[in-house]
Every structure is written in structure tokens, then in C-alpha cells.
């Protein structure tokens, strides 16, 4: 690996990284006071929801308040973006949060204000967060309509709190406020996943999500400690100037004089990012998080929260660049996660879980984007992915809402041809095209930027990683259209889900176990009431078994089409996903920045290094000078080549899906893919992939059970050993007393004899001594 680092350094040097104008780049203007409103409005909203809950409001009022407030903060975000161009960076402080100082030296004061750091990266993130939040709130107003009253208020309170935390995370001007947002979103995902608290699986999934996030947060916390210990401050405006000398050292290519501690910081921060964005080691919580209502999955587990990890790395990009090992690790973890998640998604039957795994996979792409030094690609993919993944989730939500909780793709077919479901079908198609990377869709452009970089950025095994990503892109295309062809097109057929009679209350006590893919196995903490991880056969079981179980009479059930709110949101989101592609062409301040997203990134800390990526050829020219053979892909400009390659792969994926799942499929149950299963290796591969490569069981076996046994042992040690010793000390005097008691026999002679004997002994001793 050693060989590559000089190249890495030289590349950074070549890219003209490092802000030449060190001084000017970092002076920070004081931000507008109203910028603070963006996070404060949702907080106010959460408070209002609390009041509604106390007052027992049973109307849809909470939803309208939330939509209103979030809409207003979206407008403010836009205003902030508009206000931004002329002065780059600004900080507006709400109030002084933590301030501990033990001296006046630079490193002797830890100051963390409730301050908001406004630069282009913040605007980029806040725009799509607030926009999506408003739309999904509107969607949720109808989706959650069947449990108005306390549940409704609780949902929207958590929803508002989530947006507040996300705003703090993104806009925080110091790592501590980021950490507050970080754990805040963790809390809200806990509350929202556990929304249907009557269901054991929901409660269990919520706990699992919170604890796995907490493990990630521990890594982040240690990163924060190390940052303060080394740099003496946590605030961005002081932190980044202090990183510059290390970037200079990196440019000179002398890695050795960057202290090991500094190189360790990004590794720790990365652990936090992986925990929050469900990357390989800590991804087990995201699929189970689908227990929560669909708007939650759409907003939190598809669009906003999971991108927090990407945001962290983008924000702390200077640190990541100075560390020799940080970016390669991110690349490889991202790449492997993408592959693993894609393979699992292929074998799932529950459409929401497929979408969840696809999110994990796409996040892998984003991390690779950042790792391949194209933070522009990563960021742009975040934006496009947010929109089309939200569309896909909301379509699935609409289907689930309409078909009484039915999510199994074998139970549904030809939905878009049913009356009233046209819009959902079209929105789904647009989403799938984007996800699959169909040429000229937004997803296509953003994924290309990442894939192209894979082949030209020098780094340990990046080329091989590029190939993996290409393969994953193909698999993504396949499973996306597998869902589309199985559910939305083909012969019309449907079966009601198990929430049929659920309409009178979203879940009632005797809600029989859904038995879907929630294997109950989990990475760290199996639920105590015994979800044995043995349940491997594909979910849902055969039709007869399903029929018997669902009490309602299937004949006269008729799905109810989504209302105006859901359709409206789906239409807007579909349009936005399409428009997102335009952003790639929308000319930013100057052509060099590769579209709008590039412009936004270049102005922020994330770009401080990537700047100077002016136009493609000059960069290439710089390369040509350095290492001609490694810089190009098949001799041409990598991006141009990637357009064709990824387009072809997209087509291949869609074609396979079409062949297997649409051509000649008579009913929803079987498809030509099933006869593929007869082939032994494919069947076992399918079984393993369906069971999530047994990662949950692995964690359960290696972490949870030994920890549980250790705790039992500790409990025993505490009860017997330590407590035992204390009781022993209590028992000793009594035992001693019992021993001595018989000597007091009460008989006179006894005492006399004792005295005489004593006297005799004494005299003898004196006698012996005196001889």
C-alpha cells in the first residue's frame, strides 16, 4: 500500500488542493439572525404537538401545523441559500451552550455554542432536508389518518423533533452541536420506529436501532475528544484553519510529519458515520427499521438521517484528506456494503425491505464517491438519491396503505393498471429508472460521477472497487425493476395484507405475528421474549397458509386508492427527481464546478481541497503529465466512457429483470425466476441472501450471547463473592461467640478447677524460668 500514498499526495498536489488563499478562505461573517429559525421552528412545532397531545386534539391539525412550519423553514433555507453567495461562510450564535475553561491558553477552553455555521454545504443539505420533510409531512397527514388523536400527535411531535435534530446536525457550528443533532436523530428514529409500540418487533427494532447507533456515536464521541485534545477547539471556524498546515504537509507529500493522532481522528469519525448511515459493520438496524410507518422510512431511513454520515465526512473532508488511511477505508467499506446490500436486496420479497437494502447500497456508492476524491459526485448522488428514493418509498407506502399492509411482491401484480393507481405507477416507474441509472436520469448522472472517479483516482485497489461498483449498479437495476415488473405491471391480482381489520386502529392487541422478514435475529440485542433466529424459509409461506390466516373474506375486499395528498406528493417528488438531473447541467457560478452540486460543494469546507477541479481536460492534462497510463480508462476521458458503460449495464439489468419477471408471467405467484431456483447453487445462494448472509445471527452469536452470559456471571460474582464476603464478616463474630459459650458452664467446681489449674501452670512456669 505504501507505494500509493506518494501518488495520493501528488494527486492532491496536482489538483491544486489546499486553499492557496489560506487567510481569506476562513474568515467567518456573522450570519443572519433569522437563520436560527430553521432549526427553532420544528422545535416550536414539537412543543405545539405536545400541547395538542395534552389537549387531546383528534383532528388533522397537528399535520397542518407541521407542514406549515416545515414549509416556512424550507423557505428560510432557500432564503439562506440566496443570502449565501456573496460572503461564503457565516456563523450565527443562538446562545452559549457549554463553556468550560481552565486557563487562557488556546487549548484551555472548551466552548460549544448553539451556533449555526452557514456555508454552501449546509445550504445544499438543508434545502433537500426541509423540502423533503415538508412533502413527507403532507404525505403522512393522510397516511397516518387512521389513528388520529394521541398517536397522531406523538408521530408529528417526533417528526418535528427529527427535523430540529437534523437541522442542528447539519447547521451546527461545532462538533458538539453536531453530536447533539446526531443523537437527536437517533432518538427520533427510536421513537418513530417504535411508533406501533404494541408490536414486539417494532419495539425490538427501535431498541436495536438506537443501540447500534449508540455504538457508532461512541466512535464519533471519541473522535470529538481527540479533535479537542489535539486542536484545542471544536468549532469549525477555528478547526479548519488549524488543519491547513497538515494539508500543506500532505501536498509536499511528507505524510510522516502529520502526527498519528491527527490521522486517527477521521478513522474515529468514520465509525460514527458508518453507524448512522448503516454501512457494513453496523447496517443490521436499517432493514429492521422498516417496522416504522412508511413516511418515517421515507424521510429518515432513506433521505435524510442516513445521509448524516455522508454529511459528516463531507464536512470533515480536510481531516479525511490528511489521514493516510481514512479515505481508502471509507472507499472499501462503502464498496463492499454496496455489493452485499445489493445481493441481499435481490433475494427479498418485502418491497419495503428491498428499498431499505437499496438505500444501504446507494449509501455505499456515496461513501465511495467521497473516497474517490469526488465529493461533488458523492454530494450530488445524495441529493438525487434523496428525491427518487423518497418517491420509491412513498409509492410502496401507498401500496401498503391501499392493500391493508400487503408488502409481499408475490401477492400483488399489475397494480398500476388498477383504477386510481395510475399516478403511483408512473411515480414508481420514474423512481425505478432513476435508481437503476437509466441513461439521462438524475441517478444515472450522479452514479456516473462516482464510477468514473473510481477508475482514475489512485488509491489502494480502486480499480477493482470500480468493477465491484459497476457490478452493483447492474444488480441495482435488476432488483429495482424486479419489483416494478412483479408488482406494478403484469396481470392484475392482489391479496389483502394482514392489517385488513386494522382500520379501526392501526394495531390491536391480538395482531398476529406478521412473520415477515423480521427474523427477530439482530446484531446486538435480541428481544428477550425469544425471537429465535431460525425462521429462514422465504417469508409469507404458501398462499393457502396465508388465506387461512387472514380472517377477512378476500373476495369483497377492494383496495382503496390513495387520496389527493399522497398522489400530490408523489407527483411533485417524481417531477423533482426528474429535475434533479437538470442540476447536473444547470450552470453553477462557473462552468468548472460540474453543475449546481459542484458549485455548492466547491464553496464549502468539503471542497477546500477539491477546488481547482476546473474543467475536466485540464485535470486530465495534469494527470497526463504525471502518470499517463493510469489516468485514463481505455485511453479516453473516464466520464465520457462511463456514460456508455453504465448505460449499457443499466440496460442489461433491466433486460434480465424483464425476462425473468415480466415475460410470460400469468399470475402474481410464480415467475420465470422461480424455475431458476431449481438449480442447486442458485437456490442456496438465494436462501443465504434472503437471510441477510446470516449477519444478524453472527452478531447474536458472537456478541449478544457471550455478553449475556458474562453479565449473568458478573451478577453471580456480585451476589456471591462480594456480598458473600461482606456477610461473612458479619457472621464471624457470631460464630466466635458460639464457640466460646460452653466455657461458662455455671458449675462452681468448674471455675475453681480452672483457677487451680491456671495457678499450677503459672507457678510451674515461674519455677522453670527461675532455674
Amino acid at each position: 500500500m505504501q507505494t500509493t500514498t506518494p501518488q495520493l499526495a501528488e494527486t492532491i498536489g496536482a489538483l491544486g488542493l489546499g486553499a492557496a488563499d489560506t487567510g481569506a478562505a476562513f474568515e467567518v461573517a456573522t450570519g443572519p439572525a433569522w437563520a436560527m429559525l430553521i432549526p427553532m421552528l420544528p422545535l416550536l412545532g414539537a412543543a405545539i404537538m405536545g400541547v395538542c397531545a395534552i389537549m387531546g386534539v383528534r383532528s388533522k391539525l397537528p399535520a397542518w401545523i407541521t407542514v406549515g412550519l416545515l414549509g416556512f423553514s424550507a423557505v428560510l433555507a432557500a432564503a439562506m441559500y440566496a443570502w449565501l453567495p456573496e460572503n461564503g461562510r457565516a456563523v450565527s450564535v443562538a446562545w452559549e451552550w457549554i463553556n468550560v475553561s481552565w486557563g487562557d491558553e488556546p487549548g484551555q477552553t472548551l466552548k460549544a455554542n448553539f451556533g449555526f455555521y452557514i456555508d454552501s454545504l449546509t445550504c445544499l443539505w438543508m434545502l433537500f432536508v426541509t423540502l423533503l420533510a415538508t412533502l413527507i409531512a403532507l404525505y403522512a397527514s393522510e397516511y397516518m389518518s387512521h389513528d388520529l388523536g394521541a398517536g397522531y400527535c406523538r408521530f408529528f411531535a417526533a417528526f418535528n423533533l427529527f427535523v430540529f435534530s437534523m437541522a442542528c446536525l447539519v447547521m451546527g457550528d461545532n462538533l458538539l452541536l453536531l453530536f447533539l443533532g446526531w443523537e437527536g436523530v437517533g432518538l427520533c428514529s427510536y421513537l418513530l420506529i417504535g411508533y406501533h409500540y404494541k408490536k414486539h418487533s417494532a419495539v425490538f427494532a427501535a431498541k436495536k436501532a438506537f443501540i447500534v447507533n449508540r455504538i457508532g456515536d461512541l466512535g464519533l464521541l471519541l473522535g470529538v475528544f481527540l479533535t479537542f485534545v489535539h486542536f484545542g477547539t471544536l468549532e469549525y471556524k477555528d478547526l479548519f484553519p488549524m488543519v491547513q498546515p497538515y494539508i500543506e504537509a500532505m501536498r509536499q507529500g511528507s505524510i510522516s510529519d502529520i502526527p498519528a493522532l491527527v490521522q486517527l481522528i477521521p478513522v474515529l469519525l468514520m465509525i460514527g458515520a458508518f453507524g448512522k448511515s448503516a454501512q457494513l459493520p453496523l447496517f443490521v438496524w436499517l432493514p429492521d427499521a422498516m417496522e416504522g410507518p412508511t413516511p418515517v422510512s421515507a424521510l429518515i431511513h432513506a433521505a435524510t438521517m442516513v445521509t448524516a454520515g455522508v454529511y459528516l465526512i463531507a464536512r470533515m473532508y480536510p481531516l479525511f484528506l490528511v489521514s493516510e488511511w481514512a479515505l481508502p477505508i471509507v472507499a472499501w467499506v462503502g464498496g463492499l456494503t454496496a455489493l452485499v446490500a445489493a445481493t441481499i436486496a435481490m433475494a427479498q420479497f418485502d418491497i419495503k425491505r428491498i428499498m431499505a437494502y437499496s438505500t444501504v447500497s446507494q449509501l455505499g456508492f456515496m461513501f465511495c464517491g467521497l473516497a474517490f476524491l469526488s465529493s461533488v459526485g458523492g454530494a450530488f448522488h445524495v441529493v438525487t438519491h434523496a428525491f427518487f428514493k423518497a418517491t420509491l418509498f412513498l409509492c410502496c407506502g401507498a401500496v401498503m396503505h391501499g392493500f391493508a399492509g400487503q408488502l409481499d411482491l408475490r401477492k400483488l401484480s399489475g397494480v398500476s393498471f388498477m383504477k386510481g393507481w395510475g399516478i403511483v405507477g408512473i411515480a414508481m416507474l420514474i423512481g425505478c429508472l432513476n435508481l437503476a441509472g437509466f441513461p439521462f436520469t438524475a441517478g444515472y448522472f450522479s452514479k456516473d460521477m462516482i464510477l468514473a472517479e473510481a477508475f482514475i483516482t489512485p488509491g489502494p485497489g480502486y480499480q477493482f472497487l470500480g468493477v465491484i461498483l459497476l457490478l452493483t449498479a447492474g444488480i441495482t437495476a435488476y432488483y429495482t425493476f424486479r419489483v416494478f415488473f412483479r408488482v406494478f405491471v403484469g396481470p392484475k391480482h392482489f391479496e389483502p395484507g394482514d392489517e385488513l381489520h386494522g382500520h379501526d386502529g392501526h394495531t390491536d392487541d391480538h395482531h398476529e405475528e406478521h412473520g415477515s422478514s423480521s427474523h427477530g435475529a439482530n446484531s446486538d440485542h435480541a428481544d428477550e421474549n425469544g425471537h429465535t433466529p431460525g425462521d429462514h424459509e422465504p417469508l409469507g409461506g404458501s398462499v393457502e397458509e396465508r388465506g387461512k390466516k387472514s380472517h377477512a373474506d378476500p373476495e369483497h375486499f377492494h383496495p382503496h386508492a390513495p387520496g389527493w395528498a399522497i398522489n400530490g406528493v408523489l407527483v411533485t417528488l417524481a417531477i423533482l427527481s426528474v429535475l434533479a438531473a437538470a442540476l447536473y447541467f444547470f450552470p453553477g457560478a462557473d462552468k468548472a464546478h460540474k453543475g449546481w452540486a459542484g458549485g455548492m460543494i466547491s464553496g464549502s469546507t468539503a471542497a477546500l481541497v477539491v477546488g481547482g477541479e476546473a474543467d475536466h481536460p485540464t485535470r486530465l492534462a495534469a494527470f497526463v503529465g504525471a502518470e499517463p497510463e493510469q489516468g485514463t480508462l481505455f485511453g479516453q476521458d473516464p466520464h465520457k466512457i462511463m456514460y456508455y458503460v453504465s448505460g449499457v449495464i443499466g440496460f442489461v439489468g433491466i433486460a434480465i429483470a424483464f425476462a425473468l419477471h415480466y415475460a410470460g408471467r400469468k399470475e402474481s405467484e410464480r415467475s420465470s425466476a422461480d424455475n431458476l431456483l431449481q438449480v442447486k447453487p442458485i437456490r442456496t445462494a438465494h436462501r443465504w441472501a434472503n437471510a441477510k448472509w446470516y449477519v444478524d445471527e453472527l452478531y447474536d452469536f458472537t456478541l449478544r450471547k457471550p455478553l449475556w452470559a458474562a453479565s449473568q456471571i458478573f451478577h453471580l460474582i456480585d451476589k456471591l463473592l462480594i456480598d458473600g464476603l461482606v456477610n461473612l464478616v458479619g457472621y464471624l463474630p457470631r460464630a466466635l461467640g458460639k464457640g466460646v459459650r460452653p466455657s461458662q458452664s455455671g458449675v462452681l467446681h468448674g471455675y475453681a478447677a480452672a483457677m487451680a489449674g491456671g495457678l499450677a501452670v503459672i507457678l510451674l512456669i515461674v519455677l522453670l524460668l527461675s532455674l
Binding site: 459459650r741 460452653p742 466455657s743 461458662q744 458452664s745 455455671g746 458449675v747 462452681l748 467446681h749 475453681a752 478447677a753 487451680a756
Partner: protein
């Protein structure tokens, strides 16, 4: 009358005026031996006899043994404190006798028997 008394004393033992050369043969050790022997007999009596009164009698004997030793020392050291101390020994013996006998009467009235082994209610 006094002189006859004095002469009898002289008969029994030459007056103290002259140092006891005459009786040189009986040394202090003799008296001490007698005293120790009497003390031992008293002790054995106290240990072996069950009858309460005899036990107290034996204690009296031990007192008496002490008295002999004291007088012997007083005589051989020509110092009268020994003798005056015997008076105190007597007072203690008297006090002890009075109390012990009152106790014995009480105990006897309680149990109609003098056997020392019957009273062991002070068992621990």
C-alpha cells in the same frame, strides 16, 4: 497477773528481745511449708467436696494458711506489719464467712440441699 502471762509467753518462746538464736533450728522455710501445705489441703478440699459449707470451710483454711505465712515473715523480718495484716485477713475472712453463710442458708432454703452441683443456672 501481767508478769505471769509474760513468763508463760517466755516459756513458750523466748521473748522477742533476743534474736531467735535459740530456735535457730526452725527456719522460715518450715513455716512457709506448713502454710503451703495447709493452703494445698484447703484447695483440694474446695475442689473435691460438694458440700457448700465444707467448701467455704476450705476457703477459710486457705485464709488461715496465708495468716501463718504472714506471721512467719513478720517474725523473721522483725516487722510487725505482717501481724497487723493478719488482722485484715481475719476481717476479710469474717466478712466472707458472714456473706457465704447467709448465701448458703438462702440456697439451702431454695433447694433443700447443699450440693454445689445443683446450682448452675448462671450457665452462659
Amino acid at each position: 497477773m501481767v508478769s505471769t502471762f509474760a513468763s508463760m509467753a517466755d516459756f513458750l518462746a523466748p521473748a522477742q528481745a533476743s534474736f531467735p538464736e535459740g530456735m535457730g533450728s526452725v527456719t522460715l522455710a518450715h513455716y512457709l511449708f506448713v502454710s503451703v501445705a495447709m493452703f494445698t489441703l484447703g484447695l483440694i478440699g474446695f475442689l473435691t467436696r460438694r458440700n457448700l459449707i465444707i467448701m467455704f470451710l476450705c476457703t477459710e483454711m486457705m485464709f488461715q494458711a496465708a495468716g501463718i505465712a504472714l506471721i512467719a515473715f513478720s517474725r523473721f523480718y522483725l516487722h510487725h506489719t505482717g501481724q497487723s495484716f493478719v488482722i485484715f485477713v481475719l476481717t476479710v475472712a469474717a466478712a466472707e464467712a458472714a456473706l457465704a453463710l447467709a448465701l448458703v442458708v438462702l440456697l439451702f432454703r431454695g433447694r433443700e440441699s447443699l450440693n454445689a452441683d445443683q446450682w448452675h443456672s448462671l450457665k452462659g
